[in-house]
Amino acid sequence: MRSINEFFARFGTLMLFILLEVVCLVMIVQLNDNQKSIYEHTLLVLNGEFQSRYNQVASYVSLREKVRQLQEENARLRAQKVQRVDIIWNQKDSVWNQDSSEIYHYYPADIISNNLQVRNNNLIINKGTQQGIQEAWGVMSDQGVVGIIQYCSAKYCSILPLVNLESSVSASIRSRNYFGNLGWVGPDVRKARLSAVPKHAEFTVGDTIVTSGYSTIFPKDLPIGVISDFTLPSGSNFYEIEVELFVDFGNLEQVYVVEHTEQDAIQITQKEEERDE
């Protein structure tokens, strides 16, 4: 109590003064037209200045993270490009040698809805048929395979992600050339299951799973995940392999839609073959 009294004895006048001056300033800018317009103008200028400064700083802060992501992606792309050049060079004499460097087109897109309910997981992106996206194209992020376009409207597309019970992607164990079928049994969105890998296959935990390139949806060797566990059910000829996915579906923002420019031509060929048979 005594300290409060001392405090008021020492600072009471100052506090009263500040209070009264604030009252005066409020009256001045509220009740006088000239001062009010000057005040509002100044406020606008200061606010605009502040906002633009803040935005600059904010974009700088997030820029670092963006640059880091782009660098990582760049590095991966660089590695992939080298691989691809090798492949083309190796196939120089083959009948399959065509100018395949432009086979895939990539369309950047943003995830606008991320609906991860245990059974019917789906994602929606902000690109649609207006931007040239079509159904059954692949979707990847800088981390790896995301899923396949399921349905397209003019402006939006829904994606059937890897982590959907309906999903099925042809995948292989990198550098071991065993192929299987990657699906999902739930409920963990960080894990998928690779099945139909034959009993005699050799691999270990930690091997990387990549796309096989046997479909027209994804290019070869896109990363999917790593083997975290596997079992060989008794009486079965095929392994059940648990794959830990690279893509973090809970935290996915930017993706690329993959177009295989020769998709139509290949499908026509397949149909003709079927008819011939």
């Binding site: 009471g12 006048t13 100052l14 009263l16 003064f17 009264l20 001056e21 009252v23 005066c24 300033l25 409020v26 009256m27 001045i28 509220q30 009740l31 006088n32 000239n34 001062q35 000057i38 005040y39 100044t42």
Partner: protein
């Protein structure tokens, strides 16, 4: 005590009447700009007894300024200036304190402390008041020169009237 308050109340009413009936019309200048106004009402704060509680002085400054604002139709401008003047009265008094100190129950006036002392006291406080007034009135430092010019001319004329008040009435309380 009551007698003292009554006398102060009458003084406030009279000075305010003189301010709004006479000095409010005495505005002149040249080149289309009114450089000179006369603000006599700060002497109501300046003339309070030296031992007055400082928070009372600040509150009185605010109230008197508010009344002046009603007549000048400038809510907050005179009040803001006079509140600052009232707040800075104590530091100015401390700054001008004679070596022997102030006697108890003395009012800051020519009668007790001499003309030179009174002119510097009134000069400092009136400068604070008038400069603050024009700053709040013009409300932008874009017209910095205008604020200074108006402050200077208004200060000179106001100081003349403040000194005249001391000579004519020679206040003792």
């Amino acid at each position: 005590m009551n007698n003292q308050w009554l006398k102060y109340g009458i003084k406030v009413v009279l000075i305010l009447l003189i301010q709004v009936l006479i000095f409010q019309r005495m505005v002149f200048g040249w080149g289309g700009v009114n450089y000179v106004q006369i603000f006599i009402y700060p002497i109501l704060i300046m003339g309070l007894p030296i031992k007055s509680p400082s928070s009372l002085v600040v509150a009185l400054g605010f109230l008197i300024g508010l009344v002046v604002d009603i007549f000048y139709m400038s809510p907050g401008v005179h009040a803001g200036a006079l509140t600052l003047t009232a707040f800075l009265r104590a530091p100015v008094l401390a700054f001008l304190e004679p070596r022997t100190g102030y006697n108890v129950d003395v009012v800051p006036s020519k009668y007790y402390l001499g003309l030179n002392w009174y002119l510097s006291y009134a000069g400092i406080l009136l400068f604070i008041h008038i400069f603050t007034y024009y700053t709040l009135e013009i409300f932008t430092f874009v017209f910095f020169l205008e604020i200074w010019m108006k402050t200077l001319f208004t200060l000179v004329f106001t100081l003349i009237f403040a000194a005249m008040y001391q000579f004519l009435l020679d206040p003792k309380s």
